[in-house]
Amino acid sequence: MSLEKQELLDLKSKIGREPTSTELQIIAAEWSEHCSYKSSKKHLKMLPMTGPLVINEKGYDSGVLDVGDGYVVTAHIESHNHPSAVEPYGGAATGVGGVIRDILSAGTRPIAIFDGLRFGNIENDLQARWLFKNAVTGIADYGNCLGIPTIGGEVEFDECYENYALVDVAALGFGKKENLIKNHAKKDDLVVLMGGSTGRDGIGGSQFASDSLESEDRSAVQIPDPFIEKLIIEAVLQARNDGLIHAMKDLGGGGLSCAISETADALEIGIEMDVDKVHTRESDMHPDEIMVSESQERMLIVTSKTKLKKLEEICKKFRIGCSVIGRVKFDNQVHIKKGSKTVANLSADFVANATLLDLPSKVPDYLKNIETEKKFKPISNYSKTLMKLLASPNIASKIWVYGQYDHEVGIRTVVKPGRDASVLRLDNGKFLSAKIDGNPKHCYINPREGAIGCFEEACRNVVCTGAKPIGMLDHLQFGNPNDPEIFWTFLESLKGLTDFAKTFDIPCVGGKVSLYNETPKGPIKPTPVIGVIGLIDKKPSIQQKISKGDCLLIVGDTKDEMGGSEFFEYIHKFVGGKCPVVNFDDSKKNMKSVLDVIKNDLVKSVHDCSKGGLAIAVSELSMTNLIGCKVSLEKVPGEKLDIDRILFSESHSRYLLVCDKTNLSKIEVILKKNKVSFKQIGQFGGEKIQFFNGAKPVIDLNVEKTHKIWLHALPNLVLHGKKSV
């Protein structure tokens, strides 16, 4: 239990008596960082949350976007870091379950899952390997069983996650606007708990998520049951179609305590419930345990007496539990009883709204000299360096991961995983594109510019498919916020994201803050993960096979921004330097021009230039098309730079375009008109990936051989402990 002294005093003075043990448990759960956002809430308000497409209604656990023709898309992001660090299989799986129920609670069918995974250095850390492998299996077993495609994500390894795991899950939902749940309640409506039974598993989970891992009590493990979750999805959607749901909320962190108090608070009602009515797994559970159990796969539904019978029939058909546990009152109280005995009676508004904190912040000491570069040993063989990077865990193909996820089920997946962003078809003839991106290496060096970079990268990926960004999800993951230096990095990231969102008119439709991410060696690097949702009105840009003679263009300047690059960190083992900075004007121009080129159907392929820089982006195009490419580095636009910088700088706002020769001049006209910096830098053909500096060859690799190494490096390492290069 982690109620602060001051909070306990507040509680006592508010109710004018000693709190009961159940009241203490409820308050501790609801006022935990995880549920109350007490450290971050004051500041999160700076993000723009409205826009012409955003539908805001009370009590939604997910963001809702109007995509036209009477349809909506819902989106949400969550993490399950602490549980996954202890039990990666169950932690990751139940993470998927939680975010899916958030999508469901708006009344929409979940149609896609994305997951961002971060672990320690799997090259030498066996624990990290174990965590990674099991988290992937957990996500696969859960998502596949639900029949919801996992269509995107990212995997990253960094020493700052040693003995820890970041498991972020985002999900999208789709449905008719008229079917959205309009959360409301009438007097004497019934409160129903639907789904799996309530057990002792996961007790104290939300407080656990808000404590550092060192001090935690490791009993808070949750067992995933995707089969029940699938049945809940079908039962809820049928109940929605039959108009049986007045209000709905998923049971997540804090269990019944949070679901009851937040529902009562959002709907401005009171709820009286009886713990004896909850269907429990064990018969001897204490009211306190029932109120804070975080057993998975449960939904809270408010319905009327007349509709109850139909709801019960649906639950019976899908063989899931359904208990009337309470009723709606208009006294704004959360009144918990055991039989006729009151065990807690608190005002909903008081429970659901913890006192918000205004934590101090201070520029971290480590940033003082972080931008100073050191002198490196010159690279003697760039072919070897590129090969080494292509086989490195952060850059190697992730097909071993997404090949375990069913990414086709639901028959919407137009652009499959492994590309810049995946694309789904919608029932109104439009297409949805989505991507999540994070970059702790950049964010560590510059929390503001790093966060903006993640945002822009996710936008770029979506733009590569021909989509216009319409909404953003932010997931802000940091260490202990009571450390002013850590809190400063949080604020900087948030301010950066806010600036970018406002400038680009991309509303934040959902988000999550996860604090206290501490490993035995200290806090994690600042790790904001940004999801961007894009909409395509007509036709997505689908990569066409690249053939001999096709031209390679780059849009955007390459700058001397090596800080946090894979080249510095993986090759030189150096953390520092100046990290990439997004120039908002260039970013906007480049985005618009690329969308123009795509709209005019002039390109075969568009690829984002990011992690590992230009050399990696070109190699990826070559490898996935099994065709060689000859690139002239001196043609790359931007200030004059050394070769290593041109090859590996991770400057933002850059896109690679591949086109047929015959379209080249038309593309150039569009790019010139938009006044963007661009150049044709190469041509495809042959069997070699070649980079030249003038007449001097810099890199020369065989495509097929490189492709094989890139493709198999990750499973070789995870399954056999073998390094490929």
Partner: protein
């Protein structure tokens, strides 16, 4: 030295749910005519064959291996060992 069979049964700790066992019980066994069954628990069994000096060291060696290599996760699982001599 002698040869021992060490059977390692890995199952969820008491109080931790076992959805697979529950499904087999409720959707298969109890739907048939076998109404006297009240609980089914799933478990994983590993059979080790090991050369050691006695029963006791055979068990402690296998236990050491299981702990070392995270063959089970102590967060969720309970393990029982039975040793027999071949």
């Amino acid at each position: 030295m002698a040869i021992f069979d060490v059977h390692v049964i890995i199952e969820n700790k008491p109080g931790i749910s076992d959805p697979e066992g529950d499904t087999i019980l409720n959707d298969l066994v109890l739907k048939g005519t076998h109404k006297t069954v009240s609980k089914i628990k799933t478990a994983k069994m590993l059979k080790f064959t090991i050369k050691e000096k006695d029963k006791k060291s055979a068990q402690s060696k296998v236990k050491e291996i299981c702990d070392d290599l995270r063959i089970y996760n102590p967060m969720v699982s309970k393990v029982t060992y039975t040793v027999t001599q071949e």
